[in-house]
């Protein structure tokens, strides 16, 4: 028998090595999240999945599950924090949903709707982020990058190519590619790479297919993200043991 913890009054079983978010998703309980992806080691940068654990806030994607924890997630206090975090991400980049070909398939946009983010909240920063259209098949629109590092992790951990990396510090942090020219065309990225499929927003785009699926008929146009996110989560608990949350831990 596995141990359990409480999430918003519901009993959640977990296996050793699972984090609070992993266990919750495996038990069909949704906690909003953005930089977490079931196939990669969680790193906890976006903080959307912040929950209260025994009264203290923590990122649930990296918080190791422990027996008897009392976790609160779907409460107004936390949803208000998440709303502000989404507003921050919108204000930090240049997100023009009506003209974005990812509209309707964008996780940031879907979270905005689901969390009822109705206003900008902050003054937009309008950063200057030129596009990279150098590659014949792929477009990079850095304006929409939310620095979740999913492409970095996918290209490094799955593709073994390290096409992407983050450079800079603080508010000047930005995505770069592995080429002396700084251009994607000069990297060894391929359309079949995992890194092509993980961007939650509209940075890494395949050329020539933008609107083949009309806006209005896309994934999050049909039903909100909370109703669909569980489909992305692995149904089986990770039985490898060890602490997944621990970066590089043995």
């Amino acid at each position: 028998m596995s141990d359990t913890f409480q999430l918003d009054g519901k009993t959640i079983p977990f296996e050793s090595g699972q984090t609070v978010l992993q266990a919750a998703l495996a038990a069909d309980s949704y906690i909003p999240h953005l930089c977490y992806h079931p196939e990669f080691k969680p790193h906890g940068s976006c903080k959307l999945c912040t929950v209260k654990v025994n009264g203290r806030t923590a990122a649930s994607c990296t918080m190791p599950a422990e027996a008897g924890l009392n976790v609160e997630s779907d409460i107004e206090e936390l949803n208000a924090l998440r709303r502000t975090l989404v507003q921050m991400l919108f204000a930090e980049g240049n997100h023009f949903c009506p003209s974005c070909e990812k509209s309707g398939n964008c996780v940031l946009q879907a979270l905005g709707y689901d969390l009822e983010v109705h206003t900008a909240g902050f003054r937009h920063m309008y950063p200057d982020r030129p596009l990279d259209a150098s590659h014949p098949d792929i477009l990079l629109d850095f304006n929409r990058c939310i620095l979740c590092e999913l492409c970095v992790r996918a290209s490094g951990e799955v593709d073994g190519k390290n096409v992407f990396a983050l450079a800079g510090r603080g508010i000047t942090k930005h995505l770069i590619v592995n080429a002396e020219s700084g251009l994607l065309a000069d990297t060894n990225i391929a359309l079949t790479d995992k890194a092509m499929d993980v961007c939650p927003v509209g940075v890494i785009l395949r050329k020539g297919v933008g609107f083949s699926q009309p806006i209005g008929e896309r994934r999050y146009d049909k039903s909100p993200i909370r109703a669909q996110a569980l489909q992305d989560a692995p149904r089986e608990a990770d039985n490898k043991g060890g602490c997944d949350a621990c970066e590089d831990a043995p």
């Binding site: 790193h43 906890g44 940068s45 976006c46 903080k47 959307l48 912040t50 806030t57 990122a59 990296t62 190791p64 924090l81 502000t84 975090l85 921050m88 991400l89 204000a91 930090e92 902050f122 003054r123 920063m125 939310i146 620095l147 390290n162 096409v163 992407f164 990396a165 983050l166 450079a167 800079g168 510090r169 603080g170 508010i171 000047t172 942090k173 770069i176 590619v177 592995n178 080429a179 002396e180 602490c243 949350a245 621990c246 970066e247 590089d248 831990a249 043995p250």
Partner: protein
């Protein structure tokens, strides 16, 4: 066949890699030295280095761009950085900065047209008691005056090599104003180590626990518990790390300890190594203190020659320990212990997820004891004196003495050693401060207190401190003090988590908006909301404390803010006339016709 450029990189890198090893773990040290060859890191030199280290070049670019003192673009033969802590500002660094830009015909933050010089600002360089200060190509220069700045500009114009500049420019004073057991220590190197060897590892840990020694870096974790945890943790190797990344603005005590008591620091590290079972130690020395590297290396060598480091230390069979010095490159966040370890491993200095803690999973995921410079000194003293005598100094929960770095409005800035429990008022009297309006305790991440709190006492019971003590008299504008600190946090945020990366910049925008005369009550309320978000969701202490300077000064000095506010509840930050500034600059105009008239004026 190699082209000329590749030859240049090979000539520069071959000896560096020969000395440091072709291992990515030394990336930061390699990049520092590579930059010394060319003044910056040329793109093709990174490609060349990536091949040599067998790592992706994106990783090198990622690391290099994290640190303020590493440059990926040409940055001038002379790279001038004015220390821009509030204490430098109070000593008049702004007019000096402008004068130098004017004299060298260069814009702040830009490289001169001829590629000769760049001028910019940097976070506090730890010279607050002898500012205004600057760094030129990484070398600290103190006590700037108009005359000195003029001379420096002339030396740069003449392309005089830095080694030929007057030695007095680089003189750094200790300014010890009040000594004590620590600063007055005159024990022979090795004396405490002999006592420690006679005690043995278990009893060292016991003695440190009994002394109630707590970490001097600010957080105050019990040192004995840390060492015991590290000792008991399973690992193939154990490590000792001395945190000398003294980056908190207003703190400079570790600089003085490394100058005057380096043997005691190394002695403390060595007895820690004995206690936890480590063979390798590191000193993480902040880049601003690069000038200390050579003297410290010489002391390490002397200790090796005296068998106080190396194999079978003091004849004790199997007691092997040595210390390497690792230089930082301008990143405040590396003072956070897990970020420091990442940086030691040649990575970006991003704080790790915890648990696990460094004490079980530190350097190379092995058990690591990370302690502050002063903590190692105090630990050595505690072993020398015995736990009972050590505990008799200070207060019940804050045992021993504490070094305080006093700067700001007082005639005698410098280092003061007090037993814990000293009141703020007593320190103000000793340093000769008069008409004091406020004191910032423990730097921007600490607390700002007003006159009604000067009877409060330094110690973990009341006012915990890492040592910074910045004094402001009643001529100072506390809004500008807070704004300086807010800019500091925005500059130093590592950018890993959303709330800190974006929140610190939002806070900076708000403070600048208020400073520009566009602030409203609404903005002050927004600061409180922002604080709640940063406190609740930030990845580490930087984000959690980033709003403190504003909240604390608002509490004590609200009129300093309100006098700047417009009475409206909301006012856009966008300034129509301000938007024309660039056009005015380009056309060289600044007459009335080049300005928008305000409606009320027209």
């Amino acid at each position: 066949m190699m082209d000329t450029q590749t030859h240049r990189y090979a000539d520069c890198l071959t000896p560096i890699l020969g000395r440091l090893g072709s291992d990515a773990i030394n990336l930061l040290q390699i990049l520092r030295e590579l930059q010394d060859c060319f003044g910056y890191l040329p793109a093709d030199s990174i490609t060349y280095l990536a091949k040599k280290l067998s790592i992706p070049r994106s990783r090198i670019e990622s690391v290099a761009s994290f640190y303020s003192f590493l440059h990926l673009q040409h940055h001038g033969e002379y790279r001038v950085l004015f220390s821009d802590n509030i204490t430098d500002r109070m000593l008049g660094n702004q007019p000096l900065l402008q004068a130098m830009c004017h004299q060298l015909w260069v814009q702040l933050g830009k490289v001169s047209e001829d590629g000769l010089v760049s001028i910019n600002t940097t976070s506090c360089t730890g010279m607050c008691d002898q500012g205004p200060a600057m760094l030129v190509n990484g070398h600290a220069i103190t006590r700037l005056t108009h005359q000195r700045v003029q001379e420096i500009a002339q030396l740069i114009c003449n392309r005089t090599p830095l080694g030929d500049w007057p030695a007095d420019f680089f003189r750094v004073e200790d300014n010890i104003c009040r000594g004590g057991l620590l600063l007055g220590n005159k024990l022979e190197p090795g004396e405490i180590l002999r006592t420690a060897l006679a005690l043995g590892a278990d009893k060292i840990v016991e003695a440190i626990k009994e002394s109630n020694l707590r970490g001097r870096g600010g957080a105050g974790f019990p040192t004995g518990l840390k060492w015991e945890g590290c000792r008991n943790a399973q690992g193939t190797e154990h490590y000792v790390v001395c945190n000398a990344d003294e980056g908190e603005p207003g703190t400079f005590k570790d600089r003085v300890l490394l100058t005057t008591q380096a043997d005691l620091v190394f002695e403390g590290m060595t007895l820690c190594a004995l206690a936890v079972g480590a063979q390798q130690g590191f000193v993480y020395l902040r880049g601003e203190y690069q000038y200390l590297l050579e003297p410290l290396q010489a002391i390490l060598q002397r200790r090796r020659d005296s068998n106080l480091l190396g194999k079978n230390i003091l004849g004790q069979n199997g007691f092997d320990f040595d210390i390497k010095i690792h230089l930082g490159a301008g990143a405040y966040i590396c003072g956070e212990e897990s970020a420091l370890i990442e940086s030691l491993e040649g990575k970006r200095g991003v704080p790790r997820n915890r648990p696990p803690f460094p004490v079980t999973h530190g350097y190379l995921q092995q058990p690591t004891a990370v302690d502050n410079v002063e903590t190692f000194c105090q630990a050595a003293l505690a072993i020398h004196m015995g736990a009972d005598k050590f505990r008799a100094i200070g207060t019940e929960k804050s045992t021993g003495s504490k070094l305080i770095s006093v700067s700001g409005d007082c005639p005698r800035p410098g280092i003061y050693e007090y037993p814990f429990g000293v009141s703020v008022r007593e320190i103000l009297q000793d340093c000769g401060a008069v008409n004091t309006l406020a004191v910032q305790i423990s730097g921007p991440s600490g607390v700002c207190i007003g006159e009604n709190e000067f009877n409060r006492k330094l110690g973990f019971e009341d006012l915990p401190t890492a040592g910074a003590f910045m004094v402001f008299d009643d001529s100072r504008d506390m809004f500008e003090v807070a704004r300086n600190y807010v800019h500091f946090f925005a500059h130093e945020s590592c950018g890993f988590c959303t709330p800190c990366r974006v929140g610190t910049s939002m806070l900076k925008q708000t403070m600048d908006k208020i400073a520009a005369g566009h602030g409203t009550q609404h903005d002050l309320r927004e600061v409180e909301n922002l604080d709640h978000v940063l406190q609740s969701t930030s990845h580490c202490g930087l984000g959690r404390t980033a709003c403190n300077p504003v909240l604390h000064t608002l509490k004590h000095f609200r009129p300093a803010y309100e006098s700047r506010l417009k009475s409206l509840d909301f006012e856009p930050a966008f300034d129509l006339d301000g938007a024309l500034a660039r056009a005015r600059q380009m056309t060289g105009r600044d007459d009335a016709g080049a300005h928008l008239k305000m409606e009320s004026e027209s």
